[in-house]
């Protein structure tokens, strides 16, 4: 039942169905049939973790839809006005047009507050979804060839998404976000040599100036979403082009994809999921307040509140600045504010550390092959260890960013938390790396044990001579395959230290480092040899049962 065989038969039966006529008209101009034929039956594998990216896609769509509604009523202006709206505690207070129009959206526009809250909750969930999606890709090794570029596209989406969120958070010009903008201005000012110029450019004069809301507005509704939409499309095209990765399993190879066709299964599933995501976010927005700007009041540089944090995705930069000692160097009439500048440098470094991992890994391991089967995280202890270490660093800094709230809610001293984060910044990632690696190796041993001896059944059997044993139940073929499908690469071999004549070979220092790192990846301390067929046969033959 293909389209080509259908055409002559329908002409014979009489006039064409109007739907078919529309389809043919469009096909003649856009070539949809060919596109559909090659892509509609695209196969996608089924796993809940493959839907994390979809959460991001849908929350981004919700952000655009609700964002358009908000632009209809928002005035990106810093000119001063006096509030006369329905919210009594602010009546007669001077504020910017931006703040007044956000108050107007929240209290007077029909559905305005709900849309604002949907927009803001989606933003938090969008970026949270991107982090979780990225870590899924990381831990399963889905970033390997041929998907490194798509990994970078995704990472860039996260990076820009953080600033997209930050500019949006700053637009209402309330006391909380204004404090965040002031923070940003301080960070910009700390840049050596060009800091003051950059700040003047951004704010059009001394802080807060009259420019930053219009500038942030252009960036927030035009520049950044435009770049993000383009990257998103490229990201999705590459997912289609590369085909989706899958977990190892019976019948799944590097050359096929086992799953359901895009049409009609995934169009239905994905369409349904979109509405579920929209529904969950709308329900949350209807239940819980987010960014109640009316309680914060308009921004004034002479006012500040405690508990002034950025939205969570910028929280780790807040943590960096909160725990950094206030160092500064004054020389030749200039001040280098290390207490701010170092966090400003560490902030992108933390993010770049995870972005470059795929390239580092393929360089160290010398792996140039294509990979479409996903790794189980335990089978790549070094990568998993690094991922957990990175996440723990991130969480440690998040705790530093909320140090005041942890202090009040857990009855701790804020200095204790700050010092713990300072030490934790260096210690926690290292510890988590080694702990994770040990856990991975333990799990590998457990897998080996399960393959060779089967699963503990919990049944205690008494043998004729009186001995008690626990009956082990052998795994079925599918499970055995999953536990043994992963390849176990060998570390890089740089050859003997001396050549056949006993002369020392020249090996560059870089190669030596690479070989050492490679041994760390795939050496005997990083992977438990998986059971061989011989071992399995010997142990399951029934002789010498234990």
């Amino acid at each position: 039942m293909t389209t080509s065989t259908e055409t002559p038969s329908s002409t014979r039966r009489g006039p064409k169905h109007p739907g078919q006529r529309v389809a043919e008209w469009t096909d003649a101009r856009l070539g949809l049939y060919k596109l559909g034929k090659s892509n509609l039956r695209k196969i996608f594998p089924d796993h809940w973790s493959f839907m994390l990216g979809e959460i991001c896609l849908y929350s981004f769509t919700i952000l655009i839809l609700t964002g358009v509604y908000l632009t209809l009523f928002f005035h990106p202006s810093m000119s001063e006005t006096v509030y006369n709206g329905p919210y009594a505690p602010l009546q007669g207070v001077r504020m910017s047009e931006a703040y007044a129009s956000t108050m107007h959206i929240s209290f007077e526009v029909r559905g305005g507050l709900l849309i604002r809250q949907i927009h803001h909750w989606s933003a938090l969930i969008f970026i949270a979804g991107m982090i979780v999606h990225m870590m899924r890709v990381f831990f399963t090794g889905a970033f390997r060839k041929p998907r490194e570029l798509n990994w970078l596209f995704g990472w860039t989406l996260l990076f820009i998404g953080m600033f997209e969120g930050f500019t949006g958070y700053s637009l209402p010009d309330d006391l909380l976000s204004g404090t965040g903008v002031r923070f940003t201005e301080g960070a910009v000012l700390s840049t050596p040599i060009v800091g003051t110029y950059l700040s003047m450019f951004l704010f059009g004069g001394e802080f807060p100036g009259h420019n930053f809301v219009p500038i942030f507005y252009s960036a927030h509704i035009l520049l950044l979403p435009g770049i993000m939409a383009a990257l998103l499309v490229a990201h999705l095209i590459l997912v289609f082009y590369h085909k989706h990765t899958q977990f190892a399993g019976a019948g799944k190879t590097e050359k096929n994809v086992v799953g359901m066709p895009f049409f009609p299964i995934y169009t239905a599933k994905a369409g349904g999921f979109f509405f579920l995501v929209f529904g969950v976010i709308a329900a949350i927005a209807a239940i819980a307040t987010i960014n109640p700007i009316w309680t914060m009041g308009p921004y004034r540089p002479d006012q500040v509140s405690t508990g002034a944090q950025p939205d969570w995705y910028m929280g780790f930069s807040e943590g960096l600045i909160r725990v950094m000692p206030g160092w500064e160097i004054s020389a030749w009439g200039h001040t280098l504010v290390l207490g701010v500048f170092i966090p400003l440098i560490v902030f992108p470094t933390v993010l770049i550390a995870i972005a470059v991992w795929p390239f580092l890994e393929s360089w160290v391991t010398g792996d140039r092959g294509e990979h479409h089967l996903l790794d189980r995280p335990r089978n790549r202890p070094v990568r998993t260890g690094f991922g957990v270490a990175w996440l723990m660093l991130y969480f440690t800094l998040l705790i530093g960013g909320g140090n005041d709230l942890w202090a009040t809610h857990f009855h701790l001293s804020i200095e204790t938390i700050t010092w713990s984060v300072r030490i934790g910044f260096f210690v926690v990632p290292v510890l988590s790396y080694f702990v994770t690696k040990r856990i991975c190796l333990g799990l590998q041993r457990r897998d080996r044990d399960k393959v060779l001896h089967g699963r503990e059944s919990g049944i205690i059997k008494r043998l004729p001579h009186g001995e008690f044993i626990e009956v082990h139940e052998p795994l079925d073929q599918t499970e055995l395959h999953i536990l043994t499908a992963h390849p176990q690469p060998q570390p890089l071999d740089i050859g003997p230290e001396v050549d056949e004549n006993g002369v020392e070979r020249k090996v560059s220092a870089v190669t030596k480092v690479r070989a050492r790192l490679s041994r760390n990846f795939y050496g005997e301390h990083s992977q438990i040899p998986k059971p061989t067929v011989e071992e399995y046969d010997e142990i399951t033959s029934g002789h010498g049962h234990h």
């Binding site: 007669g92 999921f273 819980a288 969570w312």
Partner: protein, 270 residues
Amino acid sequence: MKKLSARRRHPLAALVVLLFALAAIGGLYSALAPAPKAQADDSSSQSLEITEGRKLFSVGCASCHGAHGQGSSDGPSLVGVGSAAVDFQVGTGRMPAQQPGPQIQKKKTQYTQKDIDQLAAFIASLGPGPVTPTPDQYDPAGGDVAKGGELFRTNCSQCHNFVGKGGALTDGKYAPTLKGVDPKHIYEAMQTGPQNMPSFPDTTMPSKNKADIIAYLQAVDTAKSKNPGGFTLGSLGPVPEGLFAYIFGLGALIAVAAWIAARTTKAKKS
């Protein structure tokens, strides 16, 4: 006289004489000595309050603040702190202190209001200080809410948060939440500056402005205040919002994803 002279060698005679002598000296002393109540400038009911307050003070406070409120290594001098400070500290249960720590905690009030007034009267008699406000001074009905909001954001929110939810200070100290605090106590705290709080005497913040701030807090931080956006998540800003987005937002969505992935079409056996 015969009877008297006959008994003058009685063994108890010396004791009787001693008692008479003591009574005479005591009587003369009480008649001639400068009594403290003679210095009090007003009615005898207040002097009675001071006397009663002194008794309460000797029992409950003197061990740390000294027998005359002069202070010791365990507690500050109370000379000149005024009745407002006593009414705040004892009225909110902070005094008498229960245990040492970074900061004296608020707890259940230990004295009745009558006792507190007596203690306050005694402390006020030690030296001039801030006076307990009258109800019309702290009545939120008379305050300008919007003005109070501006004053609060300028002077208070850097420690107490936008709507008075409190916040952290150094070394385990903290600015407490202002929700549910009696307007009188808020007023007194501004007057006297308890613990780490700076004081805002009438010279820097007139009584009218204090009432404005109280009116603002009543509008935004009580069980009756309107929260048009739904649950406030503690009104603590982006940290609880982020936690909520992760746990309930992303958590729910991942649960939905797992549910969808688990319900899939089964491949037909051909």
